[in-house]
């Protein structure tokens, strides 16, 4: 009993310390944002690493999620005799929720874990110390370009995911299940709002990108610099970032769509 209370106390203290450390981490990064944007070469490389390399998984997943949505939507809506609404349903669920959220989850798994592993390894092989000895701030040279690259890459990936998802839904419902193509697009066009739906979905993707970038780099920078420590930190990145995305999504949805 006492042990349980003690462990509760210890874990809440550790949580508090973690939050404090994270806040400090963000505080260190903030002043570097303006300088980071101008290091175009570093930034392009990191956008390539985070964004372009995540493209295959985003493309595949987007197509399949859209196709499944079309299939399921068609089955459900058929019972109400309104198959034409399947386009609206696919588009709205992709734009508002699935696009940003699934793209973010895949991004956390693909790019976030890679970032943690890379930065953790850089620390364990003394590359951070070496940078400092060369009078180069590793926060500026290593961390900042990666954070910015995530924030640039994920919203783009989310838009690609949404577009391909809608295309996948179109292929299944119009091409296969015989929904009228005109009705598919016109219903969608009437019910999807640029400001209320698309912009909000985009904002979600940006918020998720910030979260994933911070979690991944924080875990990388504060990982115990051994191979075991780095591999644990990588797992933590995926778990924390994914849960964070889902939790934030609930909060954002409740602010945006009520």
């Amino acid at each position: 009993m006492i042990k349980a209370i003690a462990s509760l106390g210890r874990s809440s203290l550790m949580l508090l310390a973690g939050i404090g450390q994270m806040a400090l981490f963000i505080w260190q990064l903030l002043p570097l944002v303006p300088g980071g944007i101008w290091r175009i070469r570093l930034l392009i490389k990191q956008v390539y690493m985070a964004g372009v390399l995540s493209l295959p998984i985003i493309v595949t997943a987007g197509l399949f999620v859209g196709m499944v949505l079309g299939l399921q939507g068609h089955h459900i809506l058929k019972t109400f005799n309104s198959e034409e609404a399947v386009g609206t349903m696919t588009a709205l669920s992709l734009i508002r929720e699935l696009g940003p959220v699934v793209a973010a989850l895949l991004f956390a798994g693909r790019a976030g874990s890679a970032l943690t592993a890379e930065v953790g390894l850089m620390r364990s092989t003394e590359q951070f110390s070496a940078l400092e000895m060369m009078a180069v701030d590793p926060m500026r040279y290593v961390v900042m370009p990666r954070v910015l690259a995530c924030i640039i890459a994920l919203p783009m990936l989310a838009m690609i995911f949404i577009a391909l998802g809608i295309f996948g839904g179109y292929v299944v419902t119009v091409g296969w299940l015989g929904v009228d193509s005109g009705a598919f697009w016109s219903q969608m066009n009437q019910n999807v709002d640029w400001h209320a739906d698309v912009i909000n979905g985009f904002i979600k993707a940006v918020v998720f990108a910030v979260l994933i970038a911070l979690v991944a780099l924080y875990q990388g920078c504060y990982a115990i610099p051994t191979s075991e420590g780095v591999s644990r930190a990588t797992t933590r990145t995926v778990v924390h970032a994914s849960l964070g995305v889902l939790g934030l999504d609930f909060i954002l949805t409740s602010i945006m769509f009520t």
Partner: protein, 156 residues
């Protein structure tokens, strides 16, 4: 520097695909109409029941879109629903005595406002009110009336 070139080409492609996707979503999927809203003027109408009408629902004449519902509120004087509509500026010659009714696209589709053009010489100006309105058909009322007339018909 071929590595840097590879990065730049890759990122360029990513941006291009993302741009195409965004344009596709903007034009084909959503009702994006440029960065500016189309210029419009507002008129309103009072309904005793709006059914399932929502903001941004279309306003149509003979099935052609001429505007959208801006907002719906309760008129504090008459306790009826006040529907404010944005009518696009190019339709500036709608007679004063036109009537609006809340219609449904399809049996269970979404609801919209249908405008029946009148014959008055006076045309609607910004801030005017359309006085002739017909409320939404509420299915329960309809069925109720049907039941009444059926039972009455049976008695006779």
């Amino acid at each position: 520097m071929s590595k840097q070139l590879k990065f730049e080409i890759g990122v360029g492609l990513l941006v291009l695909i993302a741009l195409i996707s965004t344009v596709f979503i903007a034009l084909k999927v959503s009702n994006f109409s440029g960065f500016q809203e189309r210029s419009s003027y507002q008129v309103d109408a009072l309904f005793s029941n709006i059914g399932g009408l929502t903001a941004r629902a279309p306003v149509k004449v003979s099935g052609v879109l001429i505007g959208r519902v801006d907002r719906i509120e309760l008129d504090p004087v008459s306790y009826r629903a006040r529907v404010v509509m944005d009518i696009y500026s190019e339709f500036d010659d709608i007679p004063m005595d036109s009537s609006v009714s809340i219609l449904t696209s399809g049996l269970l589709g979404s609801q919209y406002i249908g405008l029946e053009v009148g014959g008055d010489d006076m045309v609607l100006q910004a801030g005017d009110r359309i006085h002739f309105t017909q409320s939404a058909l509420v299915l329960e009322n309809l069925i109720g009336r049907l039941m009444v007339s059926l039972t009455e018909g049976g008695r006779e």
